[in-house]
């Protein structure tokens, strides 16, 4: 039998799932802290903006954002199927398109940051 091409969508899904499992709790904690007015010096807006201006950091952020969005999109696709929405091709096209659009938007914003 032919080798399946499913790894194209599953690879970034698995990578994104692993990544967000570690990142999401940290992000929630930091957001809550920021919301309560306790922003550590290191994570202040100016510091983070300067950090994100570096080319390699931009690339890293882009990859992290793409994998997280893709993972969520794939999860949503499977959930739709489990809930009985069997128009899989349509759902897949929609959710993956949103993930790619989100990645492109992030890329645009990252590229607009002045280089350090």
């Amino acid at each position: 039998m032919a080798q399946s091409n499913k790894p194209i969508v599953w690879g970034p899904f698995a990578a994104g799932g692993t990544l967000t499992a570690f990142l999401t709790p940290a992000l929630i904690l930091l957001t809550l802290l920021a919301g309560l007015g306790h922003v550590p010096e290191l994570l202040a807006y100016e510091a983070l903006r300067a950090f994100a201006s570096h080319g390699l950091v931009k690339l890293g952020l882009g990859v992290v954002i793409f994998l997280s969005l893709w993972s969520a999109a794939h999860r949503l696709r499977i959930t739709c199927y489990d809930l009985g929405v069997r128009a899989d091709t349509l759902v897949a096209t929609l959710v993956y398109a949103v993930a790619i659009a989100g990645t492109l938007a992030a890329a645009v914003y990252l590229l607009r940051l002045p280089a350090a």
Partner: protein, 247 residues
Amino acid sequence: MSERRVELDVLRYNPETDRTPHFQRYSVTCREEWVVLDALNHVKETVDPTLAYRWSCHMAVCGSCGMMINGEPKLACKSFLRDYPGVIRVEPLAHFPVERDLVTVIDDFIAKLTRVKPYLIPKEAKPIEAGEYRQTPAQLKRYKQFTLCINCMLCYAACPEYGMIPKFMGPAAISLAHRWNQDSRDGGRAERQEEIAATEGVWECSFTGACSEVCPEHVDPAAALQRVKIKSTIDWYLAHTMPWLNK
């Protein structure tokens, strides 16, 4: 020793006389420490010799007595009556055609098991005089857990994907393929990947984990399938991004 009146609702089906399966109620006196298989044997010996079901070892080794007990895939020899207070509903394993009463047609599973070549395909053949294939404890540990499968098919009865997509290779067959792929003496991975890296192979699995929940030998087939997915994904990306690696 205490005794209890046990009521069993058993699915009966005789293809020669019945148009559809139906439940039959049996009421027998059982000992409190018996398992469901003992109760079925007692029914067959004292009430109804026509009741058909598979069993052999009575000790969770042979994998023959898998059936649905109160809707869950279980080994009848491992299901204690004391854990089932009311009427006990006994049906043949879900997702398999019924041959007669609790006996299912398992040809589909056997065919899939055969396709994954669940036996040693030596990396290099060597004559018997050259001695045994040696293995370190660490190499044994990599696959030992997956050798514990007894082919009882409870994981197939529990798997919603197999219920929906009968072509899916299913948990036990893929776990056993993984077991041999992980074996340091084995060189047959490429042959097995032909079957398990296909769409009907591991990729129909959506990781619900039901297989691992019902497995009576704690093989954890869901973990095996996840590992097969990761390895097949690495294969795919290597083959498509570094074509010079393909031989």
